[in-house]
């Protein structure tokens, strides 16, 4: 019987990463979409960097950052008496950084697609920026939000290089499904590697089928 722990760990990591990114990305995505500051281009470029950088590069620097030999890791360890490298919280941090563009990009595009006049009309009706954001903007963001959630979850399920660099391969803590596949291929246990691979393919395929079903709702005829 195949050990499902790595798969469950991957799902747990994906859920944590997606949840955290959802909370921390909404406001920055809004400012990137609507802000007029010239710094936005630089901020957006930095936030998009994980899309093109090799995971090993990101993983290497996150490893250095979280290491107790360096200041951030040292401070964290002295404050919370907890070592982030080679731990589950450590790979969550790494995964959040690496998957950030997958959440922020669809949200930014979604915010950009909302007509400015809808927001302005809400202001003329006496509604504050916060009320307009919650009652007008967020409900119109249903599709971009779902896209962001699904893309982030799916991307994190397949996360490998960053996790291996920051978390290593510790069963029950950092050994996710993709790390397990690597291990079984290395030890030439192809049958087990196949099993994990098929599970990951199945999960990813299901996610995209669901996403496409949701998006196909757009194609309904609009009666004028």
């Amino acid at each position: 019987m195949i050990d499902l722990e790595p798969v469950l760990l991957s799902m747990k990591l994906s859920a944590y990463t997606t949840g955290i990114l959802l909370i921390i990305c909404i406001v920055p995505a809004w400012y990137l979409a609507t802000g007029k500051s010239s710094c936005n281009v630089i901020v957006e470029s930095v936030l998009t960097l994980p899309l093109v950088l090799p995971p090993t590069v990101i993983g290497f620097y996150i490893l250095l950052l979280l290491s107790p030999r360096n200041t951030p890791g040292m401070i964290f360890e002295s404050l919370f008496d907890y070592r982030l490298v080679f731990s589950f919280p450590g790979i969550v941090i790494a995964s959040v950084i690496h998957s950030l563009p997958y959440m922020i990009k669809p949200l930014k595009t979604g915010f950009e697609s909302i007509p400015r006049s809808l927001i302005e009309v809400s202001y003329t009706l006496g509604k504050s920026e916060a009320e307009t954001f919650i009652k007008v903007i967020i409900p119109l963001m249903k599709k971009p939000l779902i896209t962001g959630l699904v893309m982030t979850f799916a991307h994190t399920m397949g996360e490998f290089g960053v996790i291996l660099m920051v978390g290593g391969n510790i069963a029950g803590k950092t050994k996710t499904a993709s790390v397990a596949i690597f291990e079984y291929v290395e030890t030439m246990e192809y049958a087990t590697a196949h099993m994990y691979s098929l599970i990951l393919i199945g999960i990813s395929l299901s996610i995209f089928i669901v996403l496409n079903i949701i998006n196909s709702g757009d194609k309904k005829e609009v009666i004028e």
Binding site: E120, S122, T124, L125, K135
Partner: protein, 297 residues
Amino acid sequence: MIHINISKKIHTHQGIIDFNVDKSFNKGEFITISGKSGTGKTTLLRMIAGLTEPDSGTINVHDEIWFDSATRKNRTIQKRKCGFVFQETTLFPHMTVLQNILYAHNDKKLAYELLELLEITALAERLPVKLSGGQKQRVAIARALAIKPEILLLDEPFSSLDMNLKSIVQDELKRVHERFGTLMMLVTHDYTDIFKLSTRTLYLTPGVIERDGSAYEVYLNQLTTHKFSFTGKILDIQKNDLVYNALIGSTHGIIETIVTEDDIKGLTIGDMVLVGSKVFNPVLHKLGVNLLEPDAE
């Protein structure tokens, strides 16, 4: 009394223009604003609503200062109580017609009163996607009225409607104006709006209000005293023996009238005319200002 004395540099297709307004308006007036594109019509409405900030000047509404560049006072959009109906649809797509109106002011009795006034009660539970263009704009007007605005600003809300529909919405707007007496300011390119609705009309050239007065004063060379009159567009002119048959399209439908050679001097197909009758004979007056072109501000 509303007094507006503001200046702003506006970027238009023709370059930067200096926009200056110094005018007073009274409660109960129905002001139509027209002029070619790039003259600052929409910007004027936006500055009154607080959506665009003037460079300098004052906006004083019933002795309350909404904007004063000298004291850096600028009342927020939310506190100005200006209903704004945009050219494009601005109904919240995830809310029904009723919810759109209740979002402005959570008062069901008032919402149904407005729905009834604009004859859209049957649409209360529909989503905006299931409405026609005319219905959408009527809902937008009802929603803007729900805040009981000091000023209702309408930026070409009828531009996408066909003539029949436009006529219906015009009638409703006129009824709304009579019922509430709100100061209304309507940007339009359509003579039927100007002659049917306005108590006063402004004609803008780039940056300035060139003419200010009644529709007749602004658009006709002299005041006329017709038994009846309406505006329309010449669709066709055909010679019929000694006289001519002119086909005129208006919101009332298509009218054929007999005119003399003198009457049609200077008139061509497509011209906007005022059709009036003193006793029996309809007379045609070419409207003073050239046909207004669609706004591209």
